[in-house]
Amino acid sequence: MKYVDEYRDSGLAQTIVQEIRRLQTRPWVIMEVCGGQTHAIVKHGVDELLPEGIELVHGPGCPVCVTPLETIDKAHAIAQQPGVIFTSFGDMLRVPGSAVDLLTLKSRGADVRVVYSPLDALKLARANPDKQVVFFAIGFETTAPANALAVWQAKREGVENFSLLVAHVLVPPAIAAVLEAPHNRVQGFLGPGHVCAVRGYEDYEALSARFGVPIVITGFEPLDILEGILMVVRQLESGHARVENQYLRAVRREGNRIAQEIVSTVFAVCDRTWRGIGTIPHSGYRLREEFRDYDAERRFAVAGIDTKEPAVCISGQILQGAKKPHDCPAFGTLCTPQHPLGATMVSAEGACAAYYQYGRRPS
């Protein structure tokens, strides 16, 4: 398929791998920030192609994984209320809260629906004026513009039975948190391609300068990822630390101004709790006061729900790159995609699920 097959060519992949091997003089630890990148790495077996000594660690960029338990419990509390149509992206349906998941609630009669876009949820609200339609607005800077647009349109059209349960998170504060962690091993980053397509990469230039690390904004196809790794290794080997853009076909330095505008019209930056990591200052979005009527937390009075994480799961350390799924004693035994103990096992983008689904090697 055009624009896909070109980025999965094994000959080109080998050429890039050889170039990495030629440049590399010592081991390097590189973090891919995005869950989508983690998914591609294991799905296409990219990690297997890399020379020994290039270690990839998986970053906190899976929006499903980092959504805190208390937000999921709030979602469940709302979905169980009569007259509610609860809408969500597909992979939130299997994320366990402290009791159940949305799929189970659906099997017990809750009206839970998968949508591909928040605008589809808005359509549902228009079509069902006697119901309350709630959209589970999770995700990074990538999903924020469409969610903002849905609320903005709802307000403009006076659609009052629509609201968002907002759990938006932002990438740069998470990268800073990884680099500030006392046992950080990460020496370079594959930056989040689609996040930067929206936000641009000026914030990453500041991060790169502040911490002295190379950040290469990288795409999601196997050759994108290999090229991103090559560019990081080239910087590391030559002692450079700056932002480079591998994902030229999608990302401009200034990002998408129109998308940024709608986001800042509807959302304001706030502190946000990350599952397994804790609260990171200025790391999320909340609805601005002008749009407070569309905040599902207020509408359904669930703000009081305050669930604590169970202690057994090491997903927080995995999300920060301090540990790998195989380091967890529960991995693949007590904790499987069927019985996830933590969210990194639930989402297809979660590092543990990706390892389990694709990374198991025939023994």
Binding site: M1, H39, V42, D47, L49, G90, R94, L103, Q338
Partner: protein, 354 residues
């Protein structure tokens, strides 16, 4: 309470459900791990016998010297009508295919209709006409049936269950446990068409170039293959759960490893595009008119040749082989040159967020 010997579960013995969820979820119907759990922990212990035990899509029963193939299937598709077919055509073809995958010649079908109060008679007429045509094309007769009506809201317009009966004429044993190391894995054509056609119609997704279901009766294709060789070990139509799930089932049942090449698996551009957009993997998407065969290596080319001369097998090709290593595990050699385990789905394939 004592611990159950076979399962290691505390407590109760069969046929009490040893399923560790209190309610049936949609994932129990996805054809993946939860479906398998339901079958192995609930149905199999209750009904176990030598014909059920292999858990095939059909049972081949020796009756007075004749090998009779018997299968049953339930159809609950939404929407009822979709590009390339409808629930009626699906019911006939699906049943014919389950029989054909044992090498049986399909003969008779019984059909039961569960109708929801309020269903338009016109819709039912179109479904029945479509079944008539499909049966005619497949050379089977619908010989008995049943009709029930449930209250509005207690069904989804129409559910159809079918039972099919056929005869295995040739002295071949084609079953899930017959694959051997060295066998070639043959796929009859493009994958993912049916699942994506249904999804596009159901979710009203507009893709460039219509994607139509591949629903088709595969018996004549199987007959052509059997003419070419008697060294066909396994046949399976990769419906729910797709090619990945089917290959896993065959690998486990036969105790062989399977290795396939991503690059050799044909996927239509439109289907590939839809899957990329929706975050789905075509290897797990349902097909209704394709088959997978495991065939002795020296017979594989002849079988592929025979398939390519048949309209339903024009794009048939070898996509991999069975190996002695890693029994029960399917390995995919990716286009970019990596390798990964192609696992069974744990639940429904859910669209990813980004």
């Amino acid at each position: 309470m004592s611990e159950h010997k076979a399962t290691g579960w505390p407590g109760i013995v069969c046929p009490t459900p040893l399923v560790d969820q209190l309610h049936i979820t949609l994932a129990h119907g996805s054809g993946g791990q939860l479906t398998a759990d339901l079958v192995r922990k609930l149905f199999l212990p209750a009904f176990n016998n030598e014909y059920l035990a292999p858990l095939g899509d059909q049972a081949v029963l020796p009756l007075s010297g004749v090998r009779v193939a018997l299968t049953t299937d339930a159809f609950v598709v939404t929407p009822l009508f979709f590009p390339g077919g409808d629930i009626g055509k699906l019911a006939i073809n699906g049943t014919v295919n389950d029989l054909a995958m044992s090498g049986a010649r399909p003969l008779f079908i019984a059909a039961a209709f569960i109708l929801e109060e309020g269903l338009a008679v016109d819709e039912l007429s179109r479904i029945v006409e479509s079944m008539r045509q499909a049966a005619c094309e497949a050379g089977v007769q619908v010989v008995t049936g049943d009709t029930k009506v449930v209250e509005r809201g207690k069904g989804d317009k129409v559910f159809i269950t079918t039972t099919g009966l056929g005869v295995v004429d040739k002295p071949v044993v084609i079953a899930a446990d017959q694959a051997r190391p060295g066998d070639k894995v043959i796929l009859s054509g493009t994958i993912g068409d049916h699942g994506i056609a249904i999804l596009s119609q159901r979710e009203n997704l507009q893709f460039e170039g219509a994607i139509t279901s591949d629903t088709a009766a595969l018996y004549t294709l199987v007959a052509a293959m059997l003419e070419a060789s008697d060294q066909i070990h396994c046949l399976r139509d990769p419906t729910r759960g797709g090619v990945a799930t089917t290959l896993n089932e065959l690998a486990v049942a036969s105790g062989v490893g399977v290795e396939i090449d991503e690059q050799r698996i044909p996927v239509k551009e439109s289907v590939k595009g839809a899957c990329e957009i929706l975050g789905l993997d075509p290897l797990y998407v349902a097909n209704e008119g394709k088959l997978i065969a495991l065939v002795a290596a020296d017979a594989a080319e002849a079988v592929v040749g025979a398939m390519r001369r048949h309209p339903l097998g024009r794009e048939a090709r070898i996509i991999g082989e069975a190996v002695a290593q890693h029994p029960g595990v399917v390995v995919l050699r990716t286009a970019v040159g990596g390798k990964r385990v192609l696992d069974v789905l744990r639940g429904e394939q859910l669209p990813r967020i980004c």
